[in-house]
């Protein structure tokens, strides 16, 4: 098996679901996953983790600022500066990498999350011909999880 399996992708999705459930006591719902190579549904703030070792590529979690503000409010955080919103998206990316580390073990080396505001919707240098796109819905907000990870051949 040279590519990501269904189970591998599920790990990332579950990590986000767990995060929302734990922080807000309200589960996030997941949309039907599809493939894309451009025009990704990017939102205001994006957390990125890159992977190496047996894998290559990156994982993006992109959320609109309104969603992050709501999330901070739910966490009783009053400071809703851009910086804090970036931190929040980075925190979610961090949770995903934590879960992934547990599951993939030493086969996947995962970077510290990078936090980017207003990432363009066309990503340069995808490692996969098509990346997986999964829309995560929480309350009435939509965030996106983009998995562009491939097992090295």
């Amino acid at each position: 098996m040279s590519d990501l399996s269904e189970k591998d992708i599920e790990i990332f999705i579950e990590a986000i679901g767990d995060y929302f459930k734990q922080i807000t006591k309200e589960s996030a719902s997941v949309g039907v996953a599809y493939l894309a190579k451009n025009a990704f549904p990017m939102n205001d703030y994006t957390g990125v983790i890159t992977v190496s070792a047996d894998y290559e590529g990156a994982l993006y979690f992109s959320a609109p600022s309104a969603m992050l503000r709501h999330l901070l409010t739910a966490m009783k955080e009053t400071n809703q500066s851009d910086e804090n919103l970036l931190d929040a998206v980075g925190e979610i990316a961090n949770t995903i990498s934590g879960n992934a580390r547990k599951y993939f073990g030493e086969n996947m080396v995962i970077s510290i999350p990078e936090k980017i505001a207003y990432l363009p919707d066309n990503l340069n240098e995808l490692v996969r011909p098509y990346a997986y796109v999964i829309i995560i819905k929480w309350k009435h907000y939509s965030a996106s999880l983009i998995v562009d990870i491939s097992r090295k051949r």
Partner: protein, 701 residues
């Protein structure tokens, strides 16, 4: 070895020894008995000999008393002597007659057995006959206190007359007794000799068996030792036994010196050899590890993963390139004490380098040789057409996935759309022989089956769809790359290369498909094609017609054409026939016809299958008209196949045919007659509603 098996092993010897002991005890008993009888016989012989003497002494005393009486003397000593000897003679003789205690030679009482032998008995009886009157004559002589010449003379005369006779009788008795004893002794001797011989034989048997056992045991040990030596000489692995002082044991495999590149001898210390081989760091941890193994505190299985000497890199002065050695240590335990460590050394250089090469190879994109072979056989133009179609189809499928959440549309219908896309790809892949894609599509369909029944999708549940979609797109991309290379190569090498016409490639594809489905379903079908008109159509339309033909061939073979045996029973030829033609009518319109000579579409049979499938109740089925029943064939998910396989059973084929005809624009007409034929025909136009004629005649065509 258990005590029970030891007992079994020596059972023979134990039995023989017991028998020997019992036998010897019996011989001893016999000896005892013999000596006691011989003792009795000796007493008898001795006493009968004394009788001879007593008879003579009696006579002698009598004669002495007669001479004394002539001189007027009476010696009381003689009287006493006469009394004593005659009484002794008398009791002894009676003892011989009927047995009893008599005075023995040493004046002590002994038991005298009565004689049993005929001759001896006769002698005793005769002697008693003479003795009784003699004894009567002696009594007055013994009892007289004065010289009684008359009685003395009477006794003396009797003695003179019978003395010799009596002597002879006693002599006979003695001789006979001696003879008897001799015979008895001889018999006993014979028995004893036999017993001795038997006893010796038994003993010899024990000795022989014991020796044989010992020799075979020695032989086994010798054989085991020889085998051990042979094993140690031939085994490829280096085998060494280490004692707790870490010295090499007396036996080790001959290959060990070669593997370690060091002369190994018995009792030499092992650690210095290891120290020369490996780095100081590995040596230190190996030393700890070996000591830990002798410590017996940690389980061997746990220790395995700690072994620092696995695939360890070594390079001795004799090695031109580095080698890899693996050392394995196993405890030799006796009574919970580690006696030795069995060290197995293997040269794993080949495995390690092979693994390294393999992992290097893994980095390169591997090309499936089977796939490549197939691709070289298929016309690249057609292949490209297929790849384009597949890519378009899969892109459309991806759009369905991407929009699945956005639409309020029935997701069940989305599943059917996905099904049609995948089914078309599957059919075409099968037709051009791309088995890998056919299999992928078939698996995809399997994932869609459960989805079709649901009105809404659980995103996580259908995560397999984008994953499979990704895999199929990947496969198509790979094939595209290869096709590009092939096409480039062909263009460079043969400018004269002409791709086959569409009608030829479609015909080839359909023939290949029919062959494959026939093989799967164990049926025989001859495909008759007349598709030249395809070359005059738009490529897209020709391709759509191919797709329709693919589905109808599959259905025709699976559902229509009967097995050879059924066909023969119906009076048909064993070979079924499927005719596919594109014909132009006088008005210039094109009719596309697919006709098979199978069992026809029979509403009653469809009804039976519907009820048997358990998905339809008797009531619903009976309410439907025959046309409605046949119309069911076009409903997505409807199938009368018992076991869905690659060829049929998903209920997609006719749905796809209908949707393709809708795309082309046409009017499907089905003519069928039970057990005779089924014909699908449509004129390429803008209308699309199937019209069904269940009572067609051959004239229709």
């Amino acid at each position: 070895m258990s005590s029970k098996s030891t007992l079994n092993k020596y059972l023979g010897i134990i039995f023989a020894v017991s028998l020997f002991l019992v036998f010897n005890l019996a011989v001893l008993g016999l000896n005892f008995y013999t000596s006691s009888t011989l003792h009795n016989d000796a007493v008898s012989i001795n006493l009968s000999g004394r009788q001879r003497m007593l008879s003579q002494r009696t006579t002698k005393v009598l004669l002495t008393m007669q001479v004394d009486a002539a001189q007027g003397k009476l010696d009381p000593k003689n009287t006493a002597e006469l009394k004593k000897v005659s009484s002794l003679f008398d009791t002894t003789l009676n003892g011989f007659k009927s047995g009893g205690t008599v005075v023995g030679g040493d004046e002590r009482p002994v038991y005298l057995e009565k004689v049993s032998d005929g001759v001896a008995k006769h002698s005793v009886d005769e002697a008693l006959r003479i003795w009784q009157p003699y004894k009567q004559l002696l009594v007055p002589v013994i009892n007289s206190t004065y010289i009684d010449d008359i009685r003395l003379d009477m006794a003396t005369d009797y003695a003179r007359e019978h003395n010799l006779k009596l002597l002879k009788l006693m002599n006979d008795l003695t001789t006979q007794l001696e003879k008897n004893t001799k015979t008895k002794a001889r018999n006993l001797q014979l028995i004893q000799t036999i017993a001795m011989v038997l006893s010796l034989l038994l003993f010899a048997n024990i000795v022989f068996n014991a020796l044989r056992k010992l020799r075979s045991a020695d032989g086994e040990i010798e054989k085991a030792q020889r085998e051990t030596t042979e094993i140690l000489n031939t085994v490829k692995e280096g085998l060494i036994l280490l004692d707790p002082q870490l010295s090499v044991g007396s036996q080790f495999s001959s290959s060990v010196s070669k593997i370690l590149q060091h002369e190994i001898t018995a009792n030499m210390p092992f650690m210095p050899v290891l120290e020369q081989l490996v780095s100081a760091e590995i040596y230190a941890s190996a030393k700890d590890y070996i000591e830990l193994l002798f410590g017996n505190k940690v389980k061997e299985s746990l220790m395995l993963s700690l072994n620092p000497l696995t695939e360890v890199k070594v390079q001795t002065k004799n090695d031109t390139t580095p080698r890899y050695l693996s050392f394995q240590f196993n405890r030799v335990v006796e009574e919970k004490r580690v006696l030795h460590l069995l060290v197995t050394v293997q040269d794993v250089t080949e495995q390690v380098t092979q693994a390294e090469e393999l992992s290097k190879l893994k980095g390169q994109s591997s090309i499936n040789l089977e796939l490549l072979k197939k691709l070289l056989q298929v016309d690249t133009f057609q292949l490209r057409q297929f790849l384009n179609n597949a890519q378009t189809g899969l892109d459309a499928l991806n759009v369905i996935l991407a929009n699945a959440d956005k639409r309020a549309a029935n997701q069940g219908e989305l599943a059917n759309q996905c099904f049609r896309i995948i089914h078309a790809i599957k059919g075409e892949a099968a037709a051009i022989g791309l088995e890998a894609i056919e299999t992928q599509a078939h698996q995809f369909e399997e994932n869609l089956v459960s989805l079709r029944k649901k009105t809404s999708w659980d995103a996580q549940e259908i995560l397999s769809l984008p994953v499979m979609l990704s895999a199929m797109l990947d496969q198509i991309r790979q094939i595209e790359t290869i096709v590009n290379v092939i096409q480039e190569y062909r263009q460079v090498n043969s400018s004269a290369y002409k791709p086959p016409t569409i009608s030829t490639s479609v015909s080839n594809n359909l023939k290949r498909l029919a062959e494959q489905v026939c093989q799967n379903q164990n049926k025989n079908v001859e495909l008759k094609l007349n598709l030249d008109l395809l070359d005059r159509m738009e490529t897209k339309t020709a391709h759509q017609l191919q797709q329709i033909a693919i589905q109808l061939i599959r259905n025709g073979i699976y559902h229509g054409i009967e097995t050879p045996s059924i066909r023969l029973a119906k009076g048909k030829s064993a070979h079924g026939e499927i005719l596919i033609s594109a014909l132009m009518n006088p008005e210039g319109a094109i009719d596309f016809i697919v006709r098979d000579d199978g069992q026809g579409i029979v509403p009653s049979r469809i009804r039976t299958s519907m009820i048997a499938s358990g998905r339809y109740s008797n009531e619903i089925v009976s309410q439907l008209s025959d046309k409605e029943i046949v119309g069911k064939l076009f409903e997505p998910g409807f199938s009368t196949a018992d076991n869905p396989d690659k060829d049929a059973g998903r209920g997609v084929g006719m749905d796809l045919v209908q949707s393709l005809i809708n795309e082309i624009g046409g009017d499907l007409k089905i003519d069928t007659k039970a057990d005779v034929f089924t014909q699908f025909a449509f004129r390429l136009s803008k209308h699309a509603k199937p019209s069904i004629n269940l009572n067609a005649t051959e004239a229709v065509v």
